[in-house]
């Protein structure tokens, strides 16, 4: 097998540089992928620690550990760090590692920009985190930063927040451009668009979404900056501005953003289910069409986050219907996954366990999403813990589980070592129980009437909040265990074969394990 990928170009006969400069100057897609993945893991742990502070405060009614002011800073930073620091860079890291290997390309199309788009990220998050130590504290207006709470009434650190969002946006846009250019120009001969692995498809669509909406986010924060420092009144009613305009702009970015965080997961899960069912994916082309329709629909549903701002009836109806429509392509994907498993020959290694949990729990999140789309009912759900439960079901056992599944699935290819299957399964079960104990009760708490972003609550919410906190700590500790498993695998372990998994298909499994520093110096032929 490995003979196929042996490189015979002299100028390619070098391995990685040594020491720190290897990582600083690298333009290698595998190195950059690794950097992204470790960075996102670090952010995941920091954001997770903040979640522990939040849950600890909510363990019982009454203020115990933090003050409301600091509590608001925690929910804000937790949300921003998990979304922009945890999930998004993890997917970019996976794209870096996998897209070139899956399409038979030697590297990303724009390697130096690749380096830049990663290395500005640590600065963005350093700035964001340093705001914790500034006068007036860190941003405290929620990850949705609605004006005028985030403008006229914001702490001075909001300016640093704006700057860091700009950097994150620039990084995402560069990453997205790189992915698109790579996929469009560097596929191996014979790999038509409709032969591309689904992960590549999912990222192609994600990258277009990113390019479409990150500039909108940049626009929103720039208008905030103008309002705060240059006397404009975009969002200031007293000056003739419109605070609701902010929400329209934010959610025009925000809803596609939630699909940016789930489309790559769809790709990953498709590969894993196919491999461990030992059966070709059911309905490949409908999978592609489903992703495309989800992406397009995601531009016309944004105001379902704003049903209570007082829109005209016609607008409420339109956004309700459009949102409900998204359930159709989403359903198609779920049915296809199940049809792939049907009459397969299934084994349940750790990646498959995570993928199965993904299908079930993501679907639960989809159900609550459908309920939220029903406008009259949303008047009761909106801004309560029911919404918190919904988006954590789609983000934690959705996006995050898919990332963990991907790590278990591809780490033998990355490191050359098999992870410890017993530990992997233990990690899965701890996470699975933890996530459900944490978030399922939040449906109850929300329906019973507890609003979100509350540091303290009435007594009838006490019991289930306590359960949720216990689950959160179980989930939190399990992720430290995951860190241990990953380090152990990278350090050593049973050697992986090139194919790694019996049912694995695709170009990345034709190269040696660990994948050599340079792969596909000469393009493979795909038929």
């Amino acid at each position: 097998m490995s003979a196929v990928i042996e490189n015979h170009h002299d100028d390619h006969h070098h391995g990685p540089a040594k020491g720190l400069t290897r990582w600083l100057y690298t333009t290698n897609h595998k190195d950059i992928g690794t950097l992204y993945l470790w960075f996102s893991f670090a952010m995941f742990l920091i954001g997770g620690a903040m979640a522990m502070i939040i849950r600890a405060e909510l363990f019982q009614p009454g203020m115990q550990i933090v003050e409301p002011e600091f509590y608001n800073q925690m929910i804000t930073l937790h949300g921003l760090i998990m979304i922009f620091g945890g999930v998004m860079p993890a997917f970019v890291g996976l794209a870096n590692w996998l897209v070139p290997m899956m399409i038979g390309a030697p590297d990303m199309a724009l390697p130096r920009m690749n380096n830049l788009s990663f290395w500005i990220l640590p600065f963005a998050f350093f700035i964001l985190l340093s705001s914790l130590f500034m006068e007036g504290g860190a941003p405290n207006f929620g990850w949705t930063f609605y004006a005028p709470l985030s403008t006229t009434y914001a702490p001075p650190s909001v300016t640093f927040f704006i700057f860091s969002v700009h950097i994150m946006g620039a990084s995402s846009i560069m990453g997205a451009i790189n992915v698109i250019v790579t996929i469009m120009n560097m596929r191996a001969p014979g790999m038509d668009l409709m032969k591309m692995p689904l992960f590549v498809w999912s990222w192609l669509i994600t990258a277009y979404l990113l390019i479409a909406v990150m500039p909108v986010l940049a626009g929103a924060v720039t208008m905030m900056l103008m309002d705060i420092h240059f006397g404009t009144s975009f969002f200031n009613a007293a000056g003739g501005g419109d605070p609701v305009l902010f929400q329209h702009i934010f959610w025009f970015f925000g809803h596609p953003e939630v699909y940016i965080m789930i489309l790559p997961a769809f790709g990953i899960v498709s590969h894993i289910i196919e491999t461990f069912s030992r059966k070709q994916l059911f309905g490949y082309s409908s999978m592609v069409w489903a992703m495309l329709s989800i992406a397009i629909l995601s531009f016309v549903v944004w105001a379902h986050h704003m049903f209570t701002v007082g829109m005209p009836l016609a607008a409420e109806l339109f956004f309700m219907w459009a949102t409900m429509l998204i359930a159709v392509p989403t359903g198609v994907k779920v049915f296809n996954w199940i049809a792939t498993m049907f009459r397969g020959s299934i084994t349940f290694e750790t990646p498959m366990l995570f993928a199965c949990a993904f299908v079930v729990l993501f679907t639960l999140g989809g159900f609550s999403g459908l309920m939220l789309a029903i406008t009259p009912a949303d008047f009761q759900y909106h801004d309560t813990y029911f919404v918190v439960a919904h988006f954590h079901y789609v983000l934690v056992p959705g996006a995050i589980f898919s990332i963990m599944a991907a790590v278990y699935y591809w780490i033998p290819k990355w490191s050359g070592n098999m992870y410890d299957e017993r530990l992997g399964k233990l990690h899965f079960w701890l996470s699975f129980i933890g996530v459900n104990v944490t978030f399922f009760p939040q449906h109850f708490i929300g329906l019973a009437g507890m609003p979100r972003r509350y540091p303290d609550y009435a007594l009838q919410f006490a019991d289930w909040n306590m359960v949720s906190t216990v689950g959160a700590f179980l989930f939190g500790i399990s992720q430290v265990f995951f860190l241990f498993i990953v380090i152990k695998t990278v350090m050593g372990g049973k050697k992986a074969t090139d194919q790694v998994w019996e049912g694995a298909r695709g170009l990345e499994w034709t190269v040696a394990s660990p994948a050599p520093y340079h792969t596909f110096g000469t393009p493979p032929k795909v038929d």
Binding site: G62, M63, V334, M341, C356, P376, Q380
Partner: protein, 380 residues
């Protein structure tokens, strides 16, 4: 909201020992309320309808999945089937969900249309969100008051046991008559808030510069509790809503009482006040309106809220001091307090000018309700 660390520590220990057993534990608080109005009941039924449809879909879909997971393992089925598409099946599972969605959309659209009726009510009340309290103004009767959280700080900081309505009680509830159409005109003074009363299925954002409407017709006399549901700063979790629904005659009585109280207040404005009287009254006004930012000791919070103790304006600039309270400071969290009564304004300003050693350091001038009345007179 400020507590020192010993305070917190004892609070924490007390929680662990004495009060770990909240009086009103509730494992059964699981579902949405049916509420107290025709609309809220309709919303509840809609919620349950969609819920059961989702359960039904879930049962079907997951049964197939779990069946595969058990029956189609490598052990039981060593060789996988090879099918990987079927146009018929794929059309079926696109069309059927679409039809189910239409079945949901029809009743949902009907209910929504019913909720959108913004003709005038029998009683019209303007609801204004403030950081961090609600103001209610009865448009017909001119009655107007603020509604503040009345839960004791000591309960919040676990120093005493929590009462039954912990965080769901206010100093003055909004009162409405039973069986009448009541319309709420909802807006805000500073940031965005959201006025939510689950029993009426009303959740409407309170947005500065905009007026949103919502209406209700409550069938049952009773006390209904709600909350602010849009993050509005530090005390977002501490500005509850209490609505008392009463019989019409009781309502009329309440309105005339409120009017009489307003009249008495006007008399108070005329009276000659001594410094001591003003300071005494000002202390409580300060406690409800200013401590959140300027703190009990007048020291503020470095970097965000300036200290009033030793502030030049408070010490020596009485006109500017009044002006700041009346007009607020453009572009800052310091809002206009012109909605307070003349007595309240005069007393709180006097209080800040007399406390924390300010009287000794500055001119020590007091502000009387008449000064405020003068300020309000049109300037020539």
């Amino acid at each position: 909201m400020l507590s020192n660390y010993t305070n917190k520590l004892t609070g924490f220990l007390l929680t662990l020992s004495l009060f770990t057993n909240p009086a009103k534990a509730d494992w059964f608080a699981l579902n949405m309320t049916e509420g107290a109005t025709a609309i809220s009941e309709e919303v509840f039924n809609l919620h349950m309808l969609i819920f059961w449809i989702c359960v039904a879909i879930g049962v079907v879909v997951f049964s197939v999945m779990f069946y595969s997971m058990f029956a189609h393992t490598k052990k039981k089925n060593p060789v996988a089937a090879t099918f990987h598409e079927s146009t018929k099946v794929e059309i079926a599972w696109t069309v059927i969900p679409f039809l189910i969605l239409i079945a949901m959309a029809v009743p949902a659209s009907k209910t929504l249309t019913k909720m959108y009726d913004d003709t005038a009510g029998d009683v019209n009340i303007q609801v204004t969100g403030f950081q961090w309290k609600w103001q209610y103004r009865y448009l017909e009767d001119g009655v107007s008051f603020f509604s503040n959280l009345s839960t004791d700080m000591d309960e919040i900081y676990n120093l005493v046991p929590k009462g039954e309505n912990y965080l769901q009680e206010v100093d003055e509830a909004v009162v409405i008559p039973v069986g009448k159409k009541v319309r709420f005109l909802i807006t805000a003074n500073d940031v965005i808030h959201s006025w939510w009363v689950p029993a009426f299925a009303i959740k409407q954002d309170a947005i500065p510069g905009f007026v949103n409407t919502a209406w209700t017709k409550v069938d049952k006399v009773g006390t209904y509790r709600g909350k602010c549901t849009e993050l509005c700063g530090k005390n977002h979790g501490f500005m509850p809503i209490v609505v008392k629904v009463v019989e019409q005659d009781e309502y009329d009585l309440w309105v005339s009482d409120k009017k009489e109280a307003a009249f008495k207040l006007a008399e108070l404005t005329e009276k000659e006040w001594t410094t001591a009287e003003l300071v005494e009254r000002g202390e409580s006004v300060y406690a409800t309106n200013c401590v959140a930012c300027h703190q009990v000791n007048g020291q503020g919070i470095t970097g965000i809220f300036p200290a009033l103790a030793g502030s030049d304006i408070v010490l020596n600039d009485k006109p500017r001091n009044i002006e700041i309270l009346m007009e607020g400071v453009q572009g800052a969290a310091m809002n206009s307090f012109d909605y307070l009564s003349e007595v309240e304004l005069a007393s709180v300003i006097t209080y800040t000018r007399q406390s924390w050693g300010n009287a000794e350091k500055g001119d020590g001038e007091i502000v009387s309700p008449k000064d405020i009345v003068d300020y309000k007179k049109p300037k020539i």
